[in-house]
């Protein structure tokens, strides 16, 4: 049997903002259907790593691959624009602050991508939006504007919007950090459902319990490097590195 191509691969990723190096050589490989949770203290570079994967940040050096295609290839101008827009259609991203489009209804938020980018007919896109909304439990909000939704509902719509492009991988950057505690579970439930459907996911989170429940692998970052990684059981029960232990002690006791 030939070894399967990873869905997401990051090799030697380095990124600086000005004089500050935020990613100091990150290697990461995520298999098809695998779920990787990324944890670590504030400022350790988790968001920057995630944003580098769909090129919202461009690396100073290193490579990012999606399903055998290099994301950050050396193309110029319009050629790179076309390339990256195609690649991004295959990666869903969910942001801490939802980033829904406030001037569009829930239906329009979700169906706009398929209609404009994939040339899907309006009625097909609306049917797709409807089925995704049912999936995240918000079919009754289809004509609402985002401002009328709670944070948890907004985030579920944002997930549906990303799923509407039928992505190969979903990137979550602290999807529940901006939510009131009582709204966290409804979003986590949707993510667990995606996990059950074998969606490939990278999840940046501060919720250790959720990471433990959903992830196949947990990756601990600190100071722009991956300090330690492994299955959640090992990582949470018997971390090898002192830095991991200190970090986890603080979180698990809280």
């Amino acid at each position: 049997m030939s070894t399967q191509l990873p869905m997401v691969e990051v090799r030697g990723a380095r990124k600086s903002f000005g004089a500050v190096e935020v990613l100091k050589g990150i290697d990461l490989s995520v298999d098809r259907g695998q779920i990787v949770a990324i944890i670590g203290p504030s400022g350790s570079g988790k968001s920057t790593l995630l944003r580098s994967i769909n090129h919202l940040e461009s690396l100073n050096s290193g490579e990012v691959w999606l399903d055998g295609v290099q994301v950050n290839q050396k193309l110029h101008g319009q050629a790179f624009e076309r390339h990256i827009n195609k690649v991004r259609q295959q990666m869903g991203m969910v942001f801490q602050h939802f980033n829904l489009f406030p001037h569009l209804t829930v239906l329009e938020n979700i169906s706009m991508g398929p209609i404009i980018l994939k040339g899907m007919t309006r009625s097909d896109a609306h049917a797709l939006a409807h089925s995704l909304l049912s999936k995240v439990g918000l079919a009754d909000k289809i004509d609402a504007y985002p401002s009328r939704l709670s944070g948890g509902q907004k985030q579920r719509v944002a997930i549906a919007r990303a799923l509407a492009m039928q992505p190969k991988v979903m990137l979550f950057d602290e999807a529940t950090s901006a939510l009131d505690p009582e709204l966290v579970d409804e979003v986590n439930a949707v993510m667990k459902q995606l996990a059950a459907e074998h969606m490939t996911m990278l999840i940046v989170t501060h919720e250790m319990r959720f990471a433990g429940e959903v992830a196949d692998r947990v990756l601990f970052m600190d100071g722009g490097v991956v300090v330690e990684e492994g299955p959640p059981g090992d990582m949470f029960r018997a971390p090898q590195k002192e830095r991991t232990r200190t970090f986890l002690k603080k979180y698990l006791s809280a």
């Binding site: 769909n54 624009e81 869903g92 980033n99 001037h103 991508g113 404009i116 504007y145």
Partner: protein, 219 residues
Amino acid sequence: MQGLDFTVVAPYWDLLLIGAWWTAVLTVSAGALSFVGGILFAVIVLYAPVIVAYPVRALMWVFMGTPLLLQLFLIYFGLVQIGIDIPALAAGIVGLGLHFAVYNADIIRAGIVAVDVGQTEGARSIGFGKWQTLRHVVIPQAIRNTAPPIGGNLIALLKESSIVSVIGIAELVHSAQLAISETFRPFEFYITAAALYYILNLVLEAALRLFERHVEASR
């Protein structure tokens, strides 16, 4: 001294209504031009390469820094001299439209810059290109957020449109002056013209409120 007698207006009522009609046509056409031009100028100033942005900026500066009257004379009488002969109505629409486009551009540019960067990231993460993101996500929000001042400019445009009477366009003030030249009753005709402007204004404000109500629905 003469007493006021509005019956003198009656024979000229058609003339005044036609004038009001042309004022409405001017306002709608120049208003549309000022709106589209405002968006275009704003986008060019923000995103176009300097080779395009610089001349446009210079043009905007000229339109902002000189009187509208002079701009109209320049477009209507000046351009003929270099072989560009524009009908008066078109000159009036272009002059008014560009003049207000410059003011709209300033407002819309600020509106675009004020749209949260998360909106752009949200759109780009789905796979929208730069232009698609501007067109479908950023500009619509910038327009909604700047609707009140842009509406204010449109109302100013309606009132300022009377200035094109100087290049012979038969709009409302022009019609009133024509009637006055035959009847020597300035007071009655200017008052009637003012009333007609007021009505046009009400219609315009109602249309703007309708749009703002539509925007409010998404807030």
